[in-house]
């Protein structure tokens, strides 16, 4: 028998078998599923490690504050305190209902923390709240990822498993940045999201605070002949305050005689944008679930006050972690832009409201 025709026919048979195997069986998908699953399992393990570490750190901090049985205190927080979104089919007063729910939830969290911590400084209580929130977010993400993974395996839904595997690096990065954020809040350093309060702090000078809404202060000062009303959350604890409510009250108190409302906030940057880039535009720069933003918009519309927005760009991870030098340089540029807006668009003797939106941890 001829040797060359022998291996050629073997190759032909092999090709036919392979094409049958690839096109008419589920085996390749099963193998892929198995590969993606082991990829996810490795990362799920890392995710659990991060969750455990964040719990350990939270417990260590709580016992340092003198909480008895910190584990039980934390575990009890993690799965509770959810908010059920109000009905949106009936849009009348939806914002009022949402505002009510958010305040009730906020009060419940405060009561829960205060009850166990006793009478400690406000900033310590605020930082404890944020710490518990971070741990519960990490836990929630971990639970959701596990949910989709187990669902995918249960029904051999390889599309679901593959999609999850492709998302895993991004999810891990987010969870890591949450875990790193714990450090920033425990140390009490300003975070990237603190750009608004930091810009506001720049204009305050030695004006005295006056509480206009819960944990939200108003400072009355002057800038080159203009009357400046600065609103920011009360620092140096970790809180965002209620800036919308504060703006509403201040504008009402002034009878609507306000030349401009300027909001400063952190904004999510696109991948192609640089951290610390500053941009300005029109509108209320605030990323709350709705009630605070709408309060600013409604008040401005009621008295036809122009709304100016100044944002400093950063990634979601940078917003949660200790402010980087690049972001701080952005803050300095944002301060100059705010000054320019006031000089050009507010006449001397007129009033202007400057609102520093964001978490004021580490910023008085």
């Amino acid at each position: 028998m001829d040797g060359s025709s022998d291996w050629a026919s073997t190759l032909l048979v092999l090709l036919i078998l392979t094409s049958l195997f690839l096109n008419f069986t589920d085996i390749p998908q099963k193998m892929q599923l198995w590969r993606w699953a082991s990829f996810i399992r490795k990362r799920l393990y890392q995710l659990s490690e991060i969750e455990n570490e964040s719990r350990r750190r939270a417990i260590a901090y709580l016992s340092k504050l003198g909480v008895s049985n910190p584990r039980e205190f934390m575990e009890n927080f993690l799965d509770n305190f959810f908010v059920i979104e109000p009905v949106s089919k009936e849009p009348t007063d939806i914002i009022r209902r949402l505002k009510h729910l958010l305040r009730v939830r906020n009060a419940a969290v405060k009561a829960y923390v205060s009850e166990r911590l006793g009478n400690i400084e406000l900033w310590k209580r605020n930082n404890t709240e944020v710490l518990l929130e971070i741990v519960s977010v990490i836990r929630l993400i971990n639970k959701i990822v596990r949910h989709y993974f187990q669902l995918g395996l249960k029904y051999s839904n390889w599309v679901l498993v593959m999609q999850l595997a492709l998302e895993m690096p991004q999810i891990l990065r987010l969870v890591r940045s949450y875990n790193d954020a714990i450090d920033a809040f425990l140390k009490g350093t300003p975070v990237g999201d603190g750009v608004g309060p930091l810009v506001a702090r720049h204009f305050i000078g030695n004006a005295k605070p006056e509480e206009v809404a819960e944990e939200t202060d108003l400072y009355i000062t002057e800038f080159e002949g203009r009357k400046l009303y600065v609103i920011k959350a009360r620092g140096p604890g970790a809180t965002v305050g209620w800036p919308g409510e504060a703006v509403e009250k201040v504008v009402e108190r002034l009878g609507g005689k306000v030349a401009r409302i300027i909001t400063v906030d952190a904004a999510l940057r696109l991948e192609s944008e640089e951290t610390g880039e500053v941009a300005y535009g029109v509108g209320a720069a605030i990323g709350d679930p709705g009630p605070e933003k709408i309060a600013i918009e409604r008040t401005a519309t009621k008295y036809s006050i122009p709304l100016e927005a100044v944002v400093v760009k950063m990634s979601d991870a940078e917003a949660l972690n200790t402010m980087t030098k690049k972001i701080y340089e952005g803050v300095q540029r944002a301060v100059e832009i705010v000054k320019k807006i006031i000089r050009e668009k507010v006449r001397e003797g007129e009033s202007v409201i400057l609102v520093g939106i964001g978490n004021t941890v580490g910023i008085l």
């Binding site: 291996w7 190759l11 300003p190 930091l198 140096p236 972690n321 200790t322 980087t324 030098k325 910023i363």
Partner: protein
């Protein structure tokens, strides 16, 4: 004895796949990141003096930390930020 070309071909494919797998295994190991340094910037309220030092527990923006060595006005913390300082580079703490 002469080797069958089919066997040779399969062997070649096997070797290439092995190298590919091993390469991807070794290249995924990253070097540890340099932990950033947290710095505190202090300035005199009259604006004629500022310094940057390492962050200390309890520092926050707006905190008064003594008197200005030049004019005696209060010194305030104006910023706290993190910076990645490469080893062998310039010293992070600088006076101006």
């Amino acid at each position: 004895m002469q080797l069958d070309p089919l066997i040779l071909g399969l062997l070649a494919v096997f070797v290439v796949l092995m190298i590919y797998t091993l390469l991807s295994f070794f290249t995924t190991r990253k070097q540890p990141a340099i932990p950033p340094k947290i710095l505190t910037k202090i300035a005199c309220i009259s604006g004629n003096y500022s310094e940057v030092r390492e962050f200390r527990e309890g520092d926050y923006v707006g905190k008064e930390v003594g008197k200005c060595p030049k004019c005696g006005a209060p010194l305030l913390i104006v910023a706290v930020y993190s910076e990645i300082v490469r080893q062998g580079g310039k010293e992070a703490s600088a006076r101006s």
